[in-house]
Symmetry: C2
Subunit: 107 residues, 2 copies
DNA sequence: GTCTACATGTAGGCTCTCTATATGTAGCCA
DNA sequence: TGGCTACATATAGAGAGCCTACATGTAGAC
């Protein structure tokens, strides 16, 4: 997968994956891999900064937890994030529609 | 449309639009607008450099023409570009599939 | 005692898209 | 004559985000 292809869609992916349950970074990466059918393998250097960016933006909130002696920062979707996610879903639909029409126009 | 969303998909769009007929830059921008149902409005500062990049990569070839006193650089898809476009179409399908599954998983 | 899985984080680079600007022709209209 | 719009191409510089590479540490298996 061309790295640039994900540009501007990462936010939607991350918000979507924590929609129904709070997750920590490492688990988010695994969830992306699983839910995408193995297509997505997002490096930690992408995910961790992105999560912090989304928290700064108010779309996620985080808290530390210790599980089995390991520290985790668990991210949770905020109300603002929920609204953002809805917008991203709509944007995704029109985006794919627009590109799809250019790529495969039905004459 | 979030500009970043187009990242990595611009090549496919440009190649696709000149697939069946050679076009010059200005006409390519109009074609993108038209074929996307008005969703795409790509600025000249994006298209012209991108076309040159694709020509350098061997996916397009160009030649100058003068029509109605105005100079045009007309771009044509090369064989290499045709193969590239096919690959981009496949990549687009798996890309949307992967993102779509993450964004809207059927439980 | 070493290796792997788990877990988080930063620095720096790369590349593409965008904004802003520059240049020039043709045609219309007042 | 002058000004405006459409047509047509091009470049410089900024901005942003995703990636590679590196750093750090715990837990458990062998």
């Amino acid at each position: 997968m061309n790295p640039d292809a994900l540009r501007g869609h990462m936010d939607a992916l991350l918000l979507s994956v924590v929609e129904h349950e709070p997750l920590h970074g490492y688990a988010i990466i695994e969830a992306l891999h699983l839910r995408s059918g193995g297509a997505l393998d997002v490096p930690t250097g992408t995910v961790y900064p992105a999560l912090r960016r989304l928290e700064r933006a108010g779309f996620l909130s985080s808290e530390w937890a210790t599980v089995g002696g390991r520290k985790r920062r668990t991210y949770r979707l905020t109300d603002s994030g929920r609204a953002e996610l809805a917008g991203e879903r709509t944007a995704w639909t029109s985006f794919t529609s627009a590109i799809g029409r250019v790529l495969n126009p039905q004459t």
